[in-house]
Symmetry: C2
Subunit: 419 residues, 2 copies
Amino acid sequence: MNKVVLAVSLAFAPVAFAAEYTLPVNADTVHWGYFSKNLTPNLYIESGDTVTVETLTHHANDDASLMVDGDPGAESVFFWDENSKGVDRRGAGPVDHPRGTGGGFGVHILTGPIYVAGAEKGDVIEIQILDVVPRPSASNKHVTYGSNAAAAWGFHYSTLTDPREVITIYKIEKGFAEAAFNYRWTPQTDPYGVVHEQIDYPGVPVDPETVTKDYSVLDGVRIPLRPHFGTIGVAPDYDDNDTLVDSVPPSIFGGNIDNWRIGKGNILYLPVQVSGALLSVGDPHSSQGDSEFCGTAIETSLTGKFKIVLHKNVPLEFPLLETPDSFVVMGFSFKDYLNELADPQSTIYSESSIDKSMKNAYLNTRDFMMSQYGLTEDEAISLATVAVDFGITQVVDGNWGSHSVIRKCLFDGSCKTKD
Amino acid sequence: MNKVVLAVSLAFAPVAFAAEYTLPVNADTVHWGYFSKNLTPNLYIESGDTVTVETLTHHANDDASLMVDGDPGAESVFFWDENSKGVDRRGAGPVDHPRGTGGGFGVHILTGPIYVAGAEKGDVIEIQILDVVPRPSASNKHVTYGSNAAAAWGFHYSTLTDPREVITIYKIEKGFAEAAFNYRWTPQTDPYGVVHEQIDYPGVPVDPETVTKDYSVLDGVRIPLRPHFGTIGVAPDYDDNDTLVDSVPPSIFGGNIDNWRIGKGNILYLPVQVSGALLSVGDPHSSQGDSEFCGTAIETSLTGKFKIVLHKNVPLEFPLLETPDSFVVMGFSFKDYLNELADPQSTIYSESSIDKSMKNAYLNTRDFMMSQYGLTEDEAISLATVAVDFGITQVVDGNWGSHSVIRKCLFDGSCKTKD
């Protein structure tokens, strides 16, 4: 990888002529559960433009009264009666899947795609996250609600002596989240009459009459927010023209990275895969820990403001996050699983491991430290092992992730003894 | 696990009658490369006593002129001429191993063991780390030196296109480490005439005439210190009376945990395995990142001051660290590998994975949050996934480790929005 001069990239933004756009969320501006290079963009921008993007959590129907009802954007997306749905396809699977169109193979409501003029494969788009704000509940404009699902696909699930899926609804207010209530998932019958014994299709409305709410859950516990977008991605360059890409596994194109550091004040760099980049944003979270082991974060509708800057011909091969103090290097079990595996969209769910994602995170970290800071391989190895922390990003998204956090102050002598 | 009231444990310390001891490091006060319940203690203490413990890095002979020569304690331990060694056994292997006594199956110089009066299996000892200071170099009393070995057992090693082992010597001064020079390992002939093609036996003196030093390494890079003890452990209760236990794999008894948070101001809790606990300390590090992937930290001789408090009948089943702000829960691929695996001391080196250590870290975290904070399993699962970070402790110590960091402020509403 050649040297990427990322830290000074803002100098390239043509500020004087930058436009500002807003992309509201509704049934016409989202694709649900998949990426595709064949989608028609719903916004065209130039490098340097700013876009405010509304996003919805796909878990809003875990309590529609708090997260859907009275919110026109959410009502548009989640609409579902016995005859039709606001967004019919949910996932990359077949139209006639018994669980519903798309089969729930991919779950995230993604706002976009946004076409970035001049972006081509081999370029990088810089996504400056200027602001992230919670989407108010129509039931009470001063608060926001989110849902955490401890689901069957969670890392913990096989250890349960009494297997169950549990929804915990959190109330978000004044920078903190507090649990409001929880309930165990019960079989839910969707408006088409399909019974969902488990959480197997996104946006199934939970009938409050069928669940038992416990309002005493996590009494006194108060969680500082880490508002971020679980999923920010460009369209993958996946060869089969008719194949949609499941939104769950992250990869070289970004996507469902689920790193809670992808929030306000930070910059995400993504390698462009197709002409125009086709950027989409979704899977908003108000808080998550490293590992996201139970299957989800506090899934919470958010609105983000992003400035997009195009960098031509940058050989970046992984999603990279820049914070004011550090670079966060992402690694996955498979760096580009769609082009590495046979039958990738099935295989990825059985072939991942943290060992593999740690190996990729190590290699990416080594390469980044060599290209960005001019270190030799021996220097990068020694410095990264004595001064760089590796964490477990997520173990629930098919293509499991690890990451490293590289402090910038190491390189200019500016670290303090407590850094 | 019953509720462990750890946060208030200091109230139990019999302060009025506490004694203070010093355990210097020399050939008579160390065991090198192994734990054993059959060792004779070199100090007897009561609960509440304070002990200053000198420790030496087993990498000091990577440059004896900086880390051994002129230091009587280090010279005593590292002494080796054609007729004898200051400490003959290095490792848990056979006496007649071709590489040397003990075979290097276990590498850490451990000061101790310390007998804690009244400690029995089923109890917990609380180890308050009151102070940690670098051991001055005899060559210059104002600085300390440390060694980082990027070794054949490193996680990175299989990715090298030009396989080699690299030693980087760091200078430690005023709260920071800076690389002084590095060199590639060359075959070293020990005083008994055995040639060590690789770093395969601890304490082999490196002949400076045989290596090429690069003094330009990591020019301008300055690393804040994280002084800590890689290895703090009690004697394992391992059934075979004649079998020593390799010091490399950590386990329920603590040992080579290699978590850089085990430093000043924090408290380590270890489950006692045998009468008297038989506490030993070593493997001192001046800095390390989460994962320690190249095989070692900045291995640096340190002196620690510890206050030891005994807690009777506490069913703790993993090493637990308490900091002023958090609890750090340790997990390993195998929580008690010596009693879980057949031929454990060999098998452990091929059966570990981060997936397994993450699973153990999750289970320990769940159990701890339930017992310490009275949460239900559903509450612990939701809170840990949305607010607790899981990291990769180490991937090089046989029994690989993961850990979680649980912020105390979550539970009493005292978190700030940036915590």
